[in-house]
Structure formats: C-alpha cells, structure tokens
C-alpha cells in the first residue's frame, strides 16, 4: 500500500465519512436548530455544467436522467426556460454567471451581474452561527475565453464579487467545522476571561495598518484626487473590499479586547493554524493534490484521479452541515461549463472526450453516437446529484417535523445552457429541477415554462419568501404568484 493511498483513504473514510458527524455535532456549541416541531428553511443552488439537451429532458427520468428517478416524487422538472443571451460561443461564462443570479454578466470578464439567490437568502434569513457555504467541484477550461472564475463561481455577493468557493474537502471541512471547535465560552461575544495581551496587540497593529490603507484608498477615490472618474471608480471597488477587511479586523480586535477569540462563530472564514481536527490526517500522509490548499493545483490534480471520491466527501460534508444547522443557504457545483474533463470511468464505454465536447457535437437523435455518449456523461453527472439528494433524504437524520432534510430544503438544480437541437450551444430551452422544498413545490411534475430564467429565479425567491424582487426586473414578463405554478411552485 502506498503512503499516499493510505492517506487518501484514511481521509475519505475516516475523517470525511458520515461517521464523524455525531462527535462533531456534539462539539459545536451553537448549533442552529429550528424550534421543536418546525423545520428550518433551507435552500441550495446545485449547478452542473454543459447543459441538458431537450432530447434528454423530454425523455423523462430514464436513460441520462435515470439516476434521479428514485426522487421523482420529490422533484419538479421545469423545461423550456430561456436565457436572454444571444450567442452560443460564450454561453459557458455568460450562462454560468447568470445561474442563480438572473442578471446579465457585468462585463466580459468581471463576473455575475448581481447577487445570487443563496446569498440573498442568507443575507436576509440566516440565523446567527449559520454560514453561507459555496462548494464547487470542477475543472476550469482556462483556454475557452472569458474569465475562468466567471464559469467557476456560483455564489455572488453582488455584481462582480463572488463568495469564495471551496472544492478541496479539507477546505470544506475547515469552513464548516474547524473554526468553531476547541474554543471555550461564547466565540461571538467573548468568554469573560482575561484577554491575551499579545493577541490584542497584534490585532491592533493589523488594524492600524488597514486603517491607513483604507485612508489612502479613500483619498484616491475622492473627487479632489485629480484622477478621472474611471480610475476613481476602479479604485472604489477595491476600497469597498478594504473597508470590509478593515471592519472585520476591527471587530476581531474588539472581541479580543473583551477576551473572545479571533474568529467568530459563523464567520465562514478559516484563518490561522490548522485546527486540531485536521491532525486526524497527518499532513505527511496526504497526497499533495488531495490535501493541497492551493485551489488551482487541486482542481487540476483531482479532477483526473479522485473526482468521485472528492465529490462524495464534499457531498457528505455538505449534507452534514445542513443537518446540523451549520448551513442554511449555499451553492454546490458539480462539473463546470466548458470543462475539458473526460470522465475516466466512462472511457471503457468509448467516452473519451469531455461532456463539453460532446455537447458541441450533440445531435438530437438517440441513434447518433455523440448523443449516446453525451447521454452517458449526463447520466454520470446525474448520479452525482442523486448521491447528494440521497444523503439529504436519509431518514436516519430527521428534521424536527419528522421529514428528511431533503423534504425541508429547496434544492434548485440547473445548468448554464440548453442544447435544444443539433449542436446548439445556447441558453434556449434549458431544463432545471426543484427538489424537496418544504411544501413549496408541486413535486412529481414536469412543467413546460416558456419563461426566462430570471422569472424562474424570482419565483423561487418568492417561494422562499425573500420579499425582494430578485434578478434583473427588465427580464420579467410574469409578475404574480399565479405564474409560479408554471415553475412547479405552489407557494
């Protein structure tokens, strides 16, 4: 047995398995649970890349969609969604940046044009201690043009600014669990114990530096600086992020001064030394790729070798976070638009190109070789999605109302393009799914909605009681709840 293989298996089945859920749950002080008898509202945007052809959607839960058939009674399939994006060449990034956002891309390379649904819901409803969790597993197609990050990210704080996504299970673990472990007292408000003077001093120093940096940006941005409006606008975007960082450090300094810890519960960030939990997997036992904290290295290395295992581990961690009330809102990505990832395990069935390439060569004919191979690719993706749904639907982890997590979580499953006909690589006739939903969706239906994706997202926002118009209102044609039924939504 090789050393690296030992580390990988040990990480996957020892640390990452569901079996760790109970001790972890017991150790977290501020689990956010709903009142007895009530299930907490939860929402996940689940993205998959390179589209779902109309041919496959119209075939129902068979063949490529077969893996979803066990959940048919908990799914609403919505077809015929159209994205107001004219071109097909750039669909991977224009489409991906619209996913769960409903705005046109902010520019050629700067990302989504607005806030994503998970962020809006988290911003409005997340209880204290709950973190927004963006996880994605894809392989970037760097050479396809546009900004790879625009294809890579699905959770957006606002136009052009994404929430940091993770795809390394170790980072998922860190984000979800590590920062809240091993700390005494109330990590949000200090413990009442004596402050650590050295930590306080370090934090004050850091804050003084950022305060000076912030002041310089404000000076540049001011109209008296002598710079053009264009330059001041450019720098003002940077200023906003410096302000956020400065405020975060100011808050941390205040916490330390009152005897609290450096990281608040629910910050969603991982800083400082690795937590004790990570020592379960000794650093030297990890394969460099699996345990790397370098996302780009991780992407390249693991999509070829460990994709299934990494997906399963991330899905398990994600499901656990939802069960425990650590996460209520987030995104989960499974493959990326424009990926060059030829699925190794399908190689024996003659599938030696990436789903992206088969999507380009697709013919709406079940007898066509490219269609058959693309169907195998889609089936493989649906198996991954089904695994996640299965974890959420595990009756061993009932919600307070007796339903499964899936029953009470609205999972919006979709992609960036439609492939309505032969080789068409555009945003027409897209197919999305809604799963679970806590009574918000009419499950077991297959709806045709000839509406825009933005209207669909807005209907989902209404179903979640967001109470705000979501997406770009210029793309609405339907404005009332009556139309929500088109999308399989009942309230």
């Amino acid at each position: 047995m090789s050393r690296s293989a030992y580390g990988r298996r040990r990480f996957l089945y020892g640390l990452g398995g569901v079996t760790i859920g109970l001790p972890v749950a017991a150790s977290i002080p501020n689990l956010v649970r709903a009142a007895p008898g009530q299930a907490p509202p939860r929402y996940v945007s689940l993205y998959f890349g390179n589209g779902l052809p109309r041919l496959f959607a119209d075939n129902g839960y068979r063949g490529p969609l077969g893996p979803l058939s066990p959940f048919q009674s908990k799914l609403a399939m919505v077809t015929g969604l159209n994205m107001n994006e004219a071109n097909s060449s750039s669909i991977h990034w224009t489409g991906t940046s619209r996913f769960g956002v409903g705005h046109r891309m902010a520019g050629q390379t700067v990302g989504a044009g607005g806030e994503s649904l998970d962020n809006a819901l988290h911003r409005k409803f997340a209880p204290p201690g709950s973190i927004l969790l963006p996880v994605n597993l894809t392989r970037e197609a760097d050479n396809l043009g546009g900004d790879p990050r625009t294809r890579h990210y699905h959770s957006w704080k606002r136009a052009g600014t994404w929430n940091r996504e993770v795809q390394n299970p170790r980072d998922v673990w860190n984000v979800v669990f590590s920062d809240c472990m091993g700390q005494s007292g109330d990590p949000m408000n200090g413990s009442g114990t004596a402050p650590d003077p050295e930590a306080v001093r370090r934090s004050r120093y850091r804050h003084s530096v950022l305060d000076a940096v912030k002041g310089q940006y404000e000076e540049i941005v001011s109209s008296r600086s002598g710079y053009s409006a264009g330059i001041r606008g450019l720098v003002s975007d940077h200023l906003e992020l410096v302000r956020e960082l400065e405020k975060k450090v100011a808050d941390m300094t205040a916490r330390l001064e009152s005897g609290g810890s450096e990281t608040p519960m629910g910050s969603g960030t991982c800083e400082g030394a690795p937590s004790p939990a990570l020592n379960i997997v000794p650093e030297q036992a990890c394969t460099p790729s699996l345990c790397s904290t370098d996302q780009s290295q991780y992407i390249r290395a693991n999509t070829d070798a460990n994709w299934n295992e990494v997906w399963r581990l991330n899905a398990e961690l994600y499901a656990m976070a939802l069960r425990m009330g650590r996460v209520h809102y987030g995104t989960l990505g499974c493959t990326g638009g424009g990926d060059r990832y030829a699925i190794p395990e399908l190689g024996s069935r003659g599938v030696n190109k990436s789903p992206h390439e088969y999507a380009h060569d697709f013919r709406a004919d079940w007898n066509n070789d490219n269609a058959q191979k693309f169907a195998l690719c889609v089936e493989w993706i649906m198996e991954k999605i089904a695994y996640f749904l299965q974890l959420l639907d595990d009756s061993a982890w009932p919600d307070p109302n007796g339903g499964t997590v899936l029953d009470n979580t609205l999972v919006m499953i979709g992609t960036e393009m439609g492939t309505p006909g032969n080789g068409q690589h555009n945003g027409d006739y897209m197919t999305f799914f809604l799963a679970g939903g806590g009574g918000r969706i009419q499950s077991g239906v297959h709806r045709f909605a000839g509406n825009t994706d933005t209207e669909f997202y807005n209907a989902v926002a209404r179903a979640m009681n967001l109470g705000e118009t979501f997406g770009d209102s210029r793309e609405f044609t339907d404005s009332g709840r009556q139309g929500d039924a088109l999308f399989g939504i009942v309230r």
């Binding site: 004219a86 071109n87 097909s88 060449s89 750039s90 050629q108 390379t109 700067v110 990302g111 760097d142 050479n143 396809l144 043009g145 900004d147 790879p148 990050r149 052009g160 600014t161 994404w162 940091r164 001093r201 004050r204 120093y205 003084s208 530096v209 950022l210 305060d211 000076a212 940096v213 002041g215 310089q216 940006y217 000076e219 540049i220 109209s223 002598g226 710079y227 053009s228 264009g230 330059i231 450019l234 720098v235 975007d237 940077h238 992020l241 410096v242 960082l245 370098d294 996302q295 780009s296 390249r300 380009h360 060569d361 070789d369 490219n370 032969n422 080789g423 068409q424 690589h425 555009n426």
Partner: protein, 569 residues
C-alpha cells in the same frame, strides 16, 4: 467600404470569443475596414483607422503626422509587476503561488498589462495584505530604517523622515500631507503599545505595500490642455516598467527627485538594461505572453519547453547580438535531456545544452518549439485554426473577432464538418472553405496554421493523424499584400522571417506592451517611427530604447472630467 459592424461569417470549427472590444470601439467611430472580401471584424495593420492612408514607414510631412497620446495609466499592477517590484524595492522574492491571487490570463494578441483587462476584481484585499506582511517579515528592517530614517525613536521628525523617504520610493512620488498623517498614526499605535520604532517602521512598510499608489499605476490626469507632459516621477515609472516590468529603483527615483531625468533618460535606460537579471526576467515575462507560453501545460517537461524558448531569445539578444527575426529561423537551440528525447533527438545529458537541429527539418525557430505549439492549441489533438490565428495576430498584428450572433453561429454549425467524418482537419477545413463566406476569413489565416498540422497538442511531431490521414506542412498564404507558398515548415519560417509586416509587427507588439494599452489608428505613425528607429538592428534593446526616447512616451491625455474640475477651481 465594408463597415466594421458587419459580422464575421466564417465556418470555424470551434466557437471562441476574444474580447477585442477596441475593435468595436473603432466601429462605433464609424471607422471602416478596407479588407477586400472577409466580412469579419478584422483589423489589419494597413486598414485600422479608415483614413485610407497606408501605414508603415516614416511620415515625411510633420504637419500630417498624428500624435500618439493615450489616457493616463490607471490600472492595477499585474502579478508579475507586483512581485518584480518587491524584489526591486526590498530584495524580497516571494512565491506568487503561495498566495490566493486571482489568476491572470491574456487574450491572443494582447498582454496582461493591458489597461482594460487589469481591473481590480473581488476579494483580493486579504491576499495583498498577506503578501505585504510576508514581504515586511523577510526584509531587514534595521537596514531599511538606517536607509530611510534620520533618527530611530518615537519623535515626529523620525516618523516623518522614514515615511517621506520610503514612501517616495514605494509610491513613486512624494508623500502628501494626508498620507503622511495616516502613516504617522501607525507609529502612534505602536508607541501606545510600548513597541519600538522598528515595529512601527515594519507596519508602515506593510501599509505602503497595500497602498493604491503602489498596487496601482496611477498617473494624474489634471491639466489645462488636452495633453500634458508627464512629470519625472511618472517618466521614471514608465521607464522602469518598460525595461524591468517593475517599479523604479532608488537611483532612478533619486534622479527623478532631482528633476534630471529627461537629460539622463538614455543613461538611465542603459543602466536598467545592463541589469541583466531584471531585464532578462522582464523579457521572459513578455515572451511568455506574446507567444502564449502560459497556456501550455504544467510539469517539468513543459517547464523545459518554455525554458527552450526563453533561452533562444536570450541567447540571440545577449550572447550573439542578433535580431529578433533570427529567432524565427534558428537551427540551434538549447534543450534539456528529456526535451531532446521528446523531440526524438539523442540526449546530450540531463541538463540544458546546445543542440544543432540540422537533421531535424521539422524544427526551425521558435514557431516549432513545443511550448509555442502547445500554448496555441486549444483543442486536442491539433488546431490549425488556433495556430493560424496565433501567427495572424501575434506576428502580423491582424485580428479577427469571432461572431456571436445566432445567425452566424447557426451557419458555423451548419458548415462544420465533424471529426467523426474521419477526415483530416485540413480536409475538413477545406470543405468548410468551399462556402465563400467562410473562405473569406479562413482563407486568410488557415494557411498560416497548415504549417503546424503535423504537430500534436503537446508539440510533438507526427506524420499522420488519429484517423491515419497523412499530415504535411504545406500551404499557400494570401491576404493583403502577403502572398507566399511553402512546401515545408522550414520554407514557412523563412518566408515569415522575410516579411516586412512581421518585422513591423514585432515593433508594434513591443510598443503595445510598453504602453500597456491597446493601440489605435492614432498610434500608427508612432509605430512606424519606432520600427524605423529600431529596424537597423531589430533587437529588444533597440526597440525598447527607441520607445523610451520617443517624445510621445512622455505624453498623456488629460481626462475631460478632471480638466473641467480644475477649470472650475
């Protein structure tokens, strides 16, 4: 006259978009393109401003000459520039991959320092903070304090001397009062905590390394006229970025402070260039982008491939005193043992060594380097179109934007002959070019890619494709005034090296990178003058010196909104 708003209609086998927004900008100005038949968004060296006047060569009538003046530089430093600058300022060399920086890419035909693409995006504030902290921790703070502070205790004059001296160096201009106050507050906090002066100095360094006046290149846009001469600090900065891809060092800032830079510009150019380590580093970073080497693969062999290309240009420039064009036809190259084996050549040892390629007709000059081939192959196993477009844009400075509208895309899909036809890619493209509209564009750049048809996506040589079709380097090139045919890749390289358009394009690329912006019709005369000034000895040093010494290198456009504001005052 063909309007630029007309859409490209070509039967490309892949759908790709390049953000050539400047082409659209030209179109918005009702500029016309003078290409005879291709109806795509094309810009050629001889047809970019709609004036109908040919470019190239010196303009004899000064009155007719157009002044090349661009907007003031206002952009973030590229990662290369940022880390190079840390080395120049502090002697600190950090590994960029240790920080969570956004990955930077450059589109075909453009550079990463393009002012339009180096915007600030998203959550990088923490990354810059981490870099600044690492740099400040590695520097000898005692030495820094001795160099920049007149005294080293908690007195205002000590703070002031340190802030003013270090700030002028890092921020490339004198520190203004408002900034000084911000940095003094850091010292105040340290004094309040009972910390030493050196701690304050280290923190001030951290703050300066996160300053917008360090992270960004910001040139003032105030002025009462339409244009203004940049000041000596700005000129020093332009010069240092031109030669070193980094900020000015202390000596250059000192010359700028004394107001002597214009009279000492050539001396300072020579001094910067003679720092071979930094000028070679800058040239490598330029070559990487120009030839798209960064788009190649990762790993030791791929690193060796890139190293081969860097070494070729360095050897010609520094060791053999030969021009850039020689790199197109060089038959001597430097290979590692594993790269030699990859090329099918007997290894002379594991380390890099000089190889004579006389017996390798398939290898000549940098165009057949594996790194260049691999970096310009987006779709395995080969890509005639990508490689043709690379030569078309990077060596002929001509550009085509790929269509987006549904009708054109539908036509492309209709015309595409799929790989499962088992025809060679050359044959599939030939069938697509039977469509007249497809041929109007592909007829221009496909033949430039035929030369590389026998090379696989990794840059290896093969004689037949995956379907058993024979592959050959043969073609007839015809666009604009460029007409030649070739029977093999050696003839192709020799033809390319002999083209005056290629020589001028090399000058244009240097200028494009040196200015850090996209060149427009107004820059046409400047391009011609730089080419003319350097072509006697078309090497990098000569090109960069010609650019640096040109009067328009020091000219900047005044922004309308800033000018108005000043008038209002």
């Amino acid at each position: 006259m063909t309007n630029l708003r007309q859409t490209l209609v070509c039967g490309g086998i892949q759908c790709r978009i390049e953000p050539y927004t400047w082409v659209l900008r030209i179109a918005a100005l009702s500029v016309a393109v003078a290409l005879s038949s291709c109806s795509g968004l094309i810009r050629g060296r001889d047809s970019d401003d709609g004036s109908g006047e040919p470019s190239g060569g010196l303009v004899n009538d000064p009155a007719a000459r157009r002044v090349s003046v661009g907007p003031a530089v206002g952009r973030r430093l590229t990662h290369d520039e940022y880390f190079n600058s840390l080395e120049v300022l502090l002697g600190v060399e950090l590994d960029p991959s240790a920080f969570e920086l956004q990955r930077e890419t450059n589109s075909r035909g453009f550079f990463r320092n393009d002012a339009e693409s180096v915007a600030f995006r998203s959550d990088q504030a923490e990354a810059y903070e981490a870099i600044a902290r690492s740099a400040a921790e590695q520097v000898s703070i005692d030495s820094l304090v001795r160099t920049h502070a007149s005294c080293q205790d908690h007195r205002p004059e000590c703070y002031r001397s340190f802030i003013d001296s270090l700030g002028r160096l890092i921020m490339r201009a004198p520190v203004v009062d408002a900034e000084r106050g911000l940095f003094e507050r850091i010292f105040d906090v340290v004094r309040g905590e009972g910390g030493p002066f050196e701690t304050g100095a280290r923190l001030v360094l951290e703050a300066m390394l996160q300053s917008p006046r360090f992270i960004y290149r910001l040139e003032l846009q105030q002025g009462s006229a339409k244009t203004r001469e940049i000041d000596d600090y700005e000129l020093a900065t332009r010069l240092a970025f031109l030669v070193w891809n980094a900020v000015p060092d202390a000596e250059l800032i000192q010359v700028a402070t004394q107001g002597d830079l214009r009279s000492k510009l050539e001396d300072q150019f020579e001094r910067l260039w003679s720092d071979g380590r930094r000028s070679r580093r800058a040239l490598r970073q330029y070559i990487e982008q120009w030839l798209r080497l960064d788009a190649g693969g990762a790993g030791a062999l791929n690193d060796d491939m890139r190293e081969e290309t860097y070494r070729l240009f360095e050897r010609l420039e520094w060791d053999q005193n030969q021009g850039v064009l020689e790199a197109l036809t060089a038959k001597r190259t430097e290979l590692s043992g594993r790269l030699a084996e990859f090329y099918g050549i007997a290894s002379q040892g594991a380390e890099f060594d000089v190889y004579d390629l006389a017996d390798q007709p398939e290898r000549i000059g940098f165009l057949t380097h594996a790194a260049v081939i691999a970096g310009n192959t987006n779709f395995a196993p080969t890509s005639i179109i990508d490689r043709g477009l690379f030569v078309y844009s990077s060596l002929f400075c001509r550009f085509i934007s790929i269509p987006e509208d549904d009708a054109t895309v539908a036509l492309i899909e209709e015309q595409t002959v799929p790989p499962d036809s088992r025809l060679s890619q050359r044959e599939r493209l030939a069938r697509q070019r039977e469509n007249e509209l497809c041929a109007s564009c592909h007829g221009q750049f496909d033949p430039l890619g035929f030369a590389f048809d026998p090379y696989d996506s990794a840059g290896g040589y093969r004689t037949e494709d995956e379907f058993g079709n024979a592959l050959r380097s043969q073609g007839e090139v015809s666009f604009g005034d460029v007409q030649f045919s070739y029977a093999n890749v050696e003839e192709f390289a020799q033809n390319i090296a002999a083209r005056p358009e290629v020589a001028e394009c090399i000058a244009e690329k240097s200028l494009q990178h040196g200015f850090g912006r996209r060149l427009l019709g107004q820059d046409r005369d400047l391009i011609a003058e730089v080419f003319s000034g350097a072509k006697g000895e078309l090497n990098w040093k000569n090109l960069l010196r010609t650019i640096a010494m040109h009067p328009e290198f020091a000219l900047v456009e005044v922004a309308g909104d800033v000018k108005s504001a000043e008038v209002a005052k």
